[in-house]
Symmetry: C4
């Protein structure tokens, strides 16, 4: 089912990266610049992430002996440094996730770059080095984003959905590793709720969300793909849901043959394979379009 | 999984508060001030709460020997006093839930205070005393709400979502007990329906909603948190759903080690622990923001 | 759990009325007066009701030996007389459901009356007599509707949601029997789909919708209430769903003690009980409000 | 349950057509003409269809020895010819699905015709012949569409929902075979997600979507109807979901008596039956309306 299968370390059947987007209330502020300051209950729902869930994630990783990746907006590094540090000090990866959870592709090129650089600055100031990995907030990767990422020296991106295995993004010959994920592995569709975040669909029981995550894992295991969660500490870090996460990882470990890794470790592995000519990645040239389709102006 | 575990009375594993928001048609009127008077079917759906469900809740409490908390808007005390009295006369707690189910954080500070005081007045006029507890309608707790609650002498709030155990809210040194809940334990996402209340997602079967509530309870029991339902008489008080509630409470009692209490009793317990230095609560200073983030004006 | 239990014929545990709202494409035209004529696929989805499902409903009723009620807009009587006649000739009840599926409470009093009378005229012209029963399209019962229904000589309404058993609506001493239902027993939340009807939530599997309907039935059976489906031939009349309906009725009949009746027969029974003083109904005075609440103008 | 049963080849109980709408990012461009070029993550989600899923569909068909139908917009033939060719070279049917996934019934008659002809031109240019089959993008079949299809020489349409078995569309005596489907068999309601495509409801687990598809199949098998999937390679072609598709086809084949065919083969069969007078189809005259209903102007 996979036309370009990738060899995983030690003959593993598939790769699993438990990754978290620790947005806290950054997005709430970006989406509601005039009113977020008075959405207090919603703020506390989001702050549950850095304050309550993150120590729990550290505990989770230790319990299973795995390292995870925390994607974090620069503003959250500045505002919740204790949360970021707990993960970093535990040996987990901290990658970048914008500055204020801005939607890049709804901004001008200049504004996108402004917030992008501000995110990198916040990361560098805190950690004294540049981030290796990136995930675009709200999956709003723009036609300029790849160029910005390459110029800033990122190793990999994990925002796109074009394949089941890692691939390479190419902008005029410059490249970046892409570690694709998909909406199914995001916990937002199942757990996010609240009129103030524009989500009022039924909340999914943890066992039912698990059913989706596990079905994707079983397929990854059978066919050899990469499985990358896009979970949010304030959602999947809640007590009943972290129990489901525990159950899922137990299931994965019992099944065996799974390489648990951070997204950075996966990117390293992919780069090594390519450098040693052990595997040839699919290459996608981006952007696919630099302007709206000509078909429309042809008609009008 | 809980970093600041709280001792429950008699060594109970967790605390459970069955709490109900008896909105009746207050919110319908607030949300549709010009048209609510002619939404008759929707009104009857809401009035089912005070007229049909409340006697059932009394019966429920007696069956299991537990006391519950009814959060009620002041306008509902005036309009449906019989419903409020049935609970109060049964020894259940009646707490305050705004006046007309107004969304506080969408109002000016002056308007918020106007409706807030009107709610308190309605409560005092009916009961001859002030309410001990508060839940903000629609979870629309504003940056002014804590100050208003403290100044009005409330003992506790149950509108925020920042932890799994009770904590303390602090506004310039003045404090209030917070008894947190979360969206998962609200029945609105599963059961509310109607174009006139802007909910047109599939209605969840009682057994499926129960699955969520029970998963949260099992986690509360395992980890020692507080479990506070946010149910609505007009929704969970329906026949098929009250059967599910009965089944859930039977499950809880069979599991054992559960402290069933009103939110006021939980607040008393927390205050006692603090006073006796038997437990140190987490303290959250509010409001977190007093104005929109400066980041935006820095850019613009 | 029911404070005013009603005796059902022959000691039945509960009453079940299988009722259908045969809207066909009336609502589509009313909601989209300018564009419905060109929504052809959506039209065919709706016309499946009178053309394909209705013969199936007749077959269903014969199979189980039960009579059903078809609520039908006057325009559908004019446009799909064959469908209406099939039910009527089979001995099923045909009740009225507006003229063009207009939302009464979004119209002026004059417009509501215009369409209301046009619906009655269509019914009378076809059947040579007035309808006994009424259900307001879209549950949009207005503050004028009860008066119109009483003046037109209706026997009963089945549009409100204020109780689990029949009750009486009172407008200045004039009364009407109310046979209440609720959103859970409507099939729209589970099965309706299409951007052109503004429904794009996941479609529920028949077995899952059945779970809701059956849970309500089990509660009705246990507590003695009336169970009235609000199904749509174009939705629940689809093959996989009619199989679920068959399964449900088999379940009901196997359980036993169920009085299957049309809503008109239930109204007759209720009127008989009242006339013979064998049961005292709850009476609700309507409208509850004749103008917007004064609370708002008090503040402004 | 089916009033006009159709004989299937070799006494099969029902006909099953696995059909796919390979939209790729055509619709994204049509719906967002100004911004689609910068929705890069969403583009990659859609391009997963032609790039990753289509080879998988070929593999799927070979595994089970069945031929499928790929509905494809003309623009996708031009932009993703490799995907289209893989299916065509495998002996699968390629039918037409508009040009840019335009919503025909939201266009003027002239604009509808412009894009319609452009779609046909793209098909002819690539394949050297006209398409036999058509499905209107977004089920937006207009009151002009049937005339356009007949004049362009199409054999059949598969966009309407008016019956469970094939029927005939008639425009002033000119006819076209209709192979009806329904929303339940579309995978969009269960799997489509993303703010940029305006879908933010919970994602359904593959096993749960399968439950719907299988319930419809079981009904088709029991009653003798045609079962036509409307799946999207970028959705149901994902790994966990293709496993569910495999499981479903295994279930169908194990049950036996199923005629697997392309929609073109079904149309051939229907035409043969009619020509040999072995079956009389239901005929529906279209359009049902040529202008908005007169009822509205009568009132105003």
């Amino acid at each position: 089912m996979i036309s370009n299968p990738i060899p995983w370390p030690n003959g593993a059947r598939c790769a699993v990266a438990i990754t978290w987007d620790m947005d806290a209330d950054s997005g709430l502020n970006f989406w509601n610049p005039e009113r977020a300051d008075t959405m207090v209950a919603c703020q506390t729902m989001f702050r549950y992430g850095p304050n309550i869930s993150v120590p729990r994630l550290v505990e989770l990783g230790r319990r299973f002996g795995i390292k995870q990746t925390l994607y974090v907006p620069g503003w959250c590094i500045e505002r919740y440094p204790h949360a970021v540090d707990q993960m970093a000090n535990n040996g987990d990866e901290v990658a970048l996730h914008g500055y204020l959870h801005e939607r890049a592709n709804e901004l001008s090129k200049e504004d996108e770059l402004y917030w992008f650089e501000r995110g990198i600055d916040a990361y560098k100031k805190h950690f004294g080095r540049s981030p290796a990995g990136w995930r675009t907030p709200s999956f709003a990767f723009s036609k300029y984003s790849l160029r910005f990422l390459i110029d800033a020296g990122f190793q990999y991106d994990s925002s796109l959905m074009g394949d089941d295995v890692p691939y390479v993004l190419d902008d005029n010959g410059d490249t970046l590793i892409e570690l694709p994920t998909q909406w199914s592995l995001d916990d937002w569709p199942y757990y996010a709720y609240g009129r103030e975040i524009n989500m009022t669909t039924p909340i999914t029981a943890p066992a039912r969300a698990l059913e989706v995550f596990r079905s994707e894992f079983d397929a990854a295991w059978e066919f050899g793909s990469v499985w990358i969660s896009v979970w949010h500490p304030f959602l999947s870090g809640r007590l009943a849901r972290i129990r489901a996460v525990i159950e899922l990882i137990e299931y994965m470990q019992a099944k065996g043959g799974v390489w648990f890794a951070t997204t950075s470790e996966i990117a390293d592995h992919v780069q090594g394979l390519i450098a040693r000519n052990e595997w040839t990645p699919t290459v996608e040239k981006l952007p696919a379009y630099t302007s709206p389709l000509p078909e429309f102006s042809e008609r009008n």
